[in-house]
């Protein structure tokens, strides 16, 4: 027996096997800590914020004081810290491992960006301070605009849209405004079948009917079918490039020409700009409007579902219709144009309160300046390289939907799972047990049981090789019919699969204090 100086055993060979299967008394499992809702652990008489007492004074609330309760407990600072730290540990993030979520560009989020956004001159300035006191903030918006315009080769940009879908709305509204300005009422927006769901939703919100354009066997838009659908009722075509199958639309210039010949506009969904930034300028492809997801391409954090930021770049044909507000200059002093000039105004109007997502502008510019144009181009190349490495390393075991090369993401479908009893969903959940966030599944809709893998450029070859090894292991296990590995997966996550039917049938959307 090995003994240390205090007489405690230090070896492990004489310990009981850990595989006892007993339940702990606390419900915790070591570092896997359970956590109740704040409403169950907190107390309404407690507050974790010290606020000065005020002397009695006469209220001026018109007799409308709040007398009803607010059933929200306060937590002391240590309890709050512990609650949210425990919750955080039930989450997967980019900081923890490969996050190959296709179409979402889950790249590393540099912490310099966070630090810069918190500088008091950006984080602690009010949107309605006199513009003379925020010249640096306006200058930053101008500098970001310059980068976005130069990288896309388009002459104008609207910064204010709050996210990608909001940018789409901005772009299609500008198109409709431009058409109306020339007295041209059109009714139809063409979207490929592989489009993000936001595209048809946006078109419908702008009052357009949506028509699908089919794809060819090689995963690209069918140019002939597109041409046949183009007539003087078509307002615009909404196309993602690289498309949602991870493929570059190689006939894009012919598409743009055909669209323009029909008097329509070309809207490009810029969600996948990461694959081509610094390599290809959308302006050279004939694009009239494109939103850019700063939270994808330019590394601002996804934050568990936002906030995003979706600036839109515009061609000359649309630049008179950009939304308010925007930065203007007399050559020396910067100012904001916040309101239109009445009847002569062509702007599509205001899309958001104040001036958009300043916090995201700072982060994106911090990223751009860090990378520089050389680094941005290298990042696109590395993103494409990593995706093609995945494609090349898995194609023998998994069924690639289209022939490579792909761009920034590799698309597989479920043909390789045929007759295994394993579904795309099972496969994705088994990836969780391997320590990875699943890839995007069941999107795009154009292939069966889609699995869309986007590694991004911020993964090393070591990480890629580990990931590929796990994926190959899973693919083999599926082929070997190791169904139990898949059908209940994940086994090692903080939770087993959740009952979504139950959640939707009788929704419980808030905590209610038990009677």
């Amino acid at each position: 027996m090995s003994m240390n100086s205090a007489g405690r055993p230090t070896g492990v060979e004489e310990l009981a096997s850990p595989d006892q299967g007993f339940e702990s008394f606390s419900g915790h499992k070591g570092l896997r800590l359970e956590e109740q809702l704040i409403f169950e652990i907190g107390n309404r008489d407690t507050t974790g914020v010290d606020i000065i007492d005020v002397d009695d004074f006469e209220l001026s609330l018109g007799g409308l004081e709040r007398t009803s309760e607010i059933a929200c407990p306060g937590l002391s600072e240590p309890d709050a810290m512990r609650h949210f730290t425990r919750l955080s540990r039930k989450n997967y993030g980019i900081d923890m491992g490969v996050f190959p979520l296709g179409s979402c560009t889950m790249k590393h989020n540099p912490r310099l960006n966070e630090k810069m956004a918190r500088l008091s001159g950006f984080g602690d300035v009010h949107p309605l301070q006199p513009t003379s006191t925020v010249q640096g903030a306006l200058e930053l918006m101008e500098e970001l605009s310059h980068w976005l315009k130069t990288l896309t080769g388009l002459p104008s940009v609207a910064l204010s849209p709050k996210a990608g879908a909001h940018g789409e709305l901005c772009g299609v509204m500008a198109i409709r405004a431009a058409l109306e300005a020339r007295g041209d009422a059109r009714e139809v927006v063409l979207c490929p079948e592989s489009a993000h769901g936001t595209n048809p939703a946006t078109a419908a919100f702008c009052g357009y009917k949506v028509k699908d354009i089919p794809a060819k066997d090689n995963g690209r838009v069918d140019l002939d079918a597109l041409k046949a659908a183009l007539d003087d009722t078509v307002a615009c075509v909404m196309l993602t490039n690289p498309n949602t199958c991870g493929l570059f639309e190689s006939e894009i210039r012919e598409i743009a020409d055909a669209v323009h010949e029909a008097g329509a506009f070309f809207y490009c969904d810029g969600a996948n700009f990461n694959a081509i930034m610094g390599k290809v300028r959308p302006g050279d492809l004939g694009v009239d409007a494109m939103h850019i997801n700063l939270h994808k391409t330019f590394s601002t954090p996804h934050g568990g579902g936002g906030p995003g930021s979706g600036p839109v770049v515009f061609s000359d044909a649309l630049k008179d219709f950009v939304p308010l507000p925007y930065v203007v200059t007399d050559g020396e002093v910067l100012d904001l144009k916040e309101w239109g000039d009445g009847d002569s105004e062509t702007s599509l109007g205001r899309l958001t309160g104040f001036h958009g997502q300043m916090g995201m502008y700072v982060r994106a510019l911090s990223y751009m300046l860090s990378h520089g144009v050389d680094g941005i181009k290298q990042a696109a190349e590395d993103a494409v390289l990593n995706a093609n490495y995945v494609l090349a390393s898995l194609s023998d075991l998994m069924s690639a939907s289209f022939e490579g090369p792909c761009k920034h993401e590799a698309l597989f479908d479920d043909r390789f799972l045929k007759d295994t009893g394993v579904t795309t969903l099972d496969f994705a959940k088994a990836m969780i047990d391997e320590g990875y966030h699943p890839m995007t599944m069941y999107f795009p809709l154009v292939v069966h049981g889609a699995m869309l893998v986007e590694p991004t450029e911020t993964e090393s070859k070591y990480n890629m090789d580990q990931f590929i090894r796990s994926m190959r292991g899973l693919a083999k296990a599926a082929k070997d019919q190791e169904v139990e590995r898949f059908e209940g997966a994940p086994y090692y996550a903080p939770m087993k699969r959740l009952d979504e039917t139950r959640a939707a049938r009788s929704p419980i959307l808030r905590f209610k204090t038990p009677e």
């Binding site: 979504e500 039917t501 939707a504 049938r505």
Partner: protein, 123 residues
């Protein structure tokens, strides 16, 4: 008399009133139904109009009026228990009843045997 449409709706005709629901094949394809949006009583629909929506967790499908006529009654049980569409598609899971404006519209529809053949052809 029971009739079927190629949108997988069944129609039971009783005098001038048609009771409408979705078929067993349709409920299986949808998966667990979580919500049914029903029309208001008294509203008039034409054949092919969108009259209801049936939702599962991951999909939402429109139900089209198989006939033209007025809604006379809706199955309010579905509000509290949408699962009836899965457990009893052709009985307790009915959607709505409507008056039949033109009985001639029934002529073009499938009978049970024809519908079974139709479904077999899809698989």
């Amino acid at each position: 008399m029971i009739k079927y449409t190629d949108e997988h709706e069944w129609i039971v005709v009783d005098g001038n009133i048609a009771t409408v629901g979705i078929t067993d094949y349709a409920q299986k394809a949808l998966g667990d139904v979580v919500f049914v949006e029903l029309p208001e009583v008294g509203v008039t629909f034409g054949t092919g109009d969108e009259v209801a929506v049936v939702e599962s967790v991951k999909a939402a499908s429109e139900v089209y009026a198989p006939l033209s006529g007025d809604i006379t009654e809706v199955n309010s049980d579905l509000e509290g228990e949408p699962a009836l569409v899965n457990t009893s598609p052709t009985d307790g899971g009915w959607f709505f009843k409507m008056s039949i404006a033109d009985t001639g519209e029934l002529d073009g529809m499938m009978d049970e045997a024809a519908y079974n053949d139709f479904v077999a052809g899809l698989e």
